[in-house]
């Protein structure tokens, strides 16, 4: 899979939110998308998922995103919205089964294969025991895992997740980042936006920084997440902590 973005511009309600963004995703890696509030992270991820109108070009394996039939696109790219609501009290298995929609026709009868894939996805996310439980009854962390299982059931090459760790406790945050790592190890590309700089620096392979709709930096963590860069973009001082061979960036104070 190769997703190429060139000279991307996007507007939301008449305001320019992304300017001249060029990026490329072509190998299994965990990419952290960071930047202050309003930097255009969500818009970029929505554009990459085919949910946002834009000018410029986004190509998936050489074909323009807009040329893809929605179902065909959904088999390659999965989008995990920030909103973690399921509007009706569906059983968790039904929620995960929705991930099979791009593979099903009209009436959406689930095949044996669909059931197997759903079961495997739920196993991966350790939520198989909730199959028959109502989504409503789960805790926030459990719900987040079920929704990721939905994305896995979609069997995409690339997962685009909008602030998936928001509102989760540290244990769930870390377990989610670990899951992303496992997905990458299994050959998938994962792009996730996040606000937690230490988690981003510790778990990601690559960091993309957006600010006011401009692409500020794109590269390996230690090249991109320098104290100067973070101070410039976020207006905070940071401290670099080395632990088990990785460098953690920890915000300490507001910059002068």
């Amino acid at each position: 899979m190769r997703l190429t973005v060139s000279r991307l511009h996007a507007q939301r309600s008449g305001k320019s939110v992304l300017r001249d963004i060029s990026l490329s995703f072509d190998k299994p890696e965990l990419i952290g998308l960071i930047g202050p509030n309003g930097a255009g992270k969500s818009t970029l991820m929505r554009a990459l998922s085919g949910l946002q109108s834009y000018s410029g070009s986004i190509q998936l394996d050489g074909t323009d995103l807009a040329q893809y039939a929605p179902q065909a696109l959904a088999r390659q790219l999965a989008f995990l919205p920030q909103e973690r609501t399921v509007h009706w009290a569906l059983d968790c298995e039904e929620v995960v089964m929705l991930g099979r929609m791009p593979y099903q026709s009209g009436f959406g009868r689930a095949s044996v294969g669909d059931h197997r894939i759903v079961e495997r996805a739920m196993q991966t996310m350790d939520v198989l025991e909730f199959s028959r439980r109502s989504f409503e009854q789960l805790s926030g962390g459990e719900q987040a895992r079920v929704l990721i299982a939905r994305v896995l059931a979609q069997e995409p090459d690339m997962i685009i997740a909008d602030e998936p760790i928001n509102g989760l406790d540290p244990a769930h945050q870390i377990s989610l980042m670990k899951t992303f790592r496992e997905l990458v190890a299994a050959g998938r590309t994962v792009l996730t936006s996040l606000h937690d700089l230490s988690l981003a620096s510790h778990w990601c392979d690559r960091i993309i920084i957006l600010e006011h709709g401009d692409l500020i930096a794109d590269g390996a963590v230690d090249q991109v997440m320098t104290p100067q860069q973070i101070r410039k973009v976020y207006g905070v001082e940071t401290m670099a902590v080395s632990t088990s061979g990785r460098t953690l960036i920890v915000p300490t104070d507001l910059a002068e």
Binding site: P70, A78, H87, D91
Partner: protein, 333 residues
């Protein structure tokens, strides 16, 4: 909780509809045993019984079935589309606007020229209402805005209906106003069935086509779209389907409220809360509910010509308040 398997649930509901249908044609000012008329070689009925059955009761029961199914189904679709259990064609002003369309068609003399002007004009009224609602609520689909818009639409359409009837030189204006606002199946004939049937079936077909998209919408707009659902198409199907079927239903029965609210809500737990499965169940449930309501007005106050909408509102309005309360409580948890 153990649930009935889906096919069994649907068969059960279909059986209930069948039983109520038979009761509905048997009950009235005189009791007629349908078997004695319908079965070949049966004895003991007169020509009068036959006429009452074929010309009055059967079309009335057929209409109750069709209109109930329409209201139940459109309620289920609107709730799935707006992702809220409080949506319903009556509450949202769609039925009232359809009534207005029907009244305009009758009193402008259009129906005298062209019989289908009645359902088409009611359909146009319903369509305008749905489009207005979409426009007012916008993408956010904030339910408070939608319901308040529905309240305003209902009042406006009601006022305009009364105005149109009062302006016409119609000695029965007051009675007519009551009919269009509360709905009734009294004195309906095969003509009405023939007029409504093609539209109701077309509209229901469009509504059923939204099923899978409604499932995906459980996850919200963005997720549904990223699963390959064409939301534009879903919206169009739901809007046209509701306008066509509710418009035609209202054209022959007046505005009957609350069926689309109560029925999907009662059946939702039986289908595991899955929007697509709720559709067929709500259509059957709506048919059963309206047949039952229509039977009850003939049993409870046979001499009084109680309006059908009175019964559905008597059950539905308190139900709505309770639902509102429980939705609010749930949101606070």
């Amino acid at each position: 909780m153990t649930r009935l398997p889906y096919p069994i649930l649907l068969s059960g509901l279909a059986l209930l509809v069948a039983v109520l249908f038979v009761i509905s044609i048997a009950i009235g000012q005189v009791w007629i045993n349908p078997a004695s008329v319908l079965l070949p070689g049966a004895h003991g009925y007169g020509e009068a019984d036959r006429l009452i059955l074929y010309e009055i009761r059967v079309p009335r029961a057929v209409l109750a079935l069709l209109i109930g199914a329409t209201l139940g189904l459109s309620g289920a679709v609107l709730q799935g589309l707006l992702r809220n259990p409080l949506a319903e064609p009556g509450l949202l002003g769609i039925s009232a606007s359809a009534s207005l369309g029907a009244v305009i068609a009758i009193y402008s003399g259009l129906t005298a020229i062209f019989a289908y002007a009645l359902p088409i004009s009611a359909l146009a009224g319903a369509l305008i209402a749905v489009l207005l609602l979409r426009g007012l609520a916008g993408r956010s689909a904030d339910i408070l805005t939608i319901i308040l818009s529905g309240v305003a639409l209902t009042s406006l359409a009601g006022a305009l209906t009364s105005l149109a009837l009062n302006m016409s030189s119609n000695p029965f204006a007051a009675l007519e106003i009551v009919f269009w606002m509360l709905g009734s199946l009294a004195d309906r004939s095969w003509v009405h069935v023939g007029m409504a049937l093609p539209f109701i079936l077309t509209g229901m077909l469009l509504l059923f086509a939204t099923a899978r998209a409604l499932d995906a919408l459980s996850l919200g707009h963005d997720a549904a779209q990223s699963l390959g659902v064409n939301l534009q198409r879903t919206n169009t199907l739901a809007i046209l389907g509701t306008a066509i079927s509710v418009g035609a239903a209202t054209a022959v029965s007046g505005a009957i409220g609350f069926v689309g609210l109560i029925v999907p809500h009662l059946l939702r737990p039986c289908v595991g809360n899955k929007p697509s499965r709720l559709l067929a169940a709500s259509a059957l449930g709506g048919a059963a509910f309206l047949l039952l309501a229509d039977i009850s007005i003939r049993v409870l106050l046979p001499e009084k010509d109680l309006k059908l909408g009175v019964v559905t509102a008597l059950i539905g309005a308190p139900f709505f308040l309770w639902l509102l309360h429980s939705v609010k409580k749930r949101a606070q948890v």
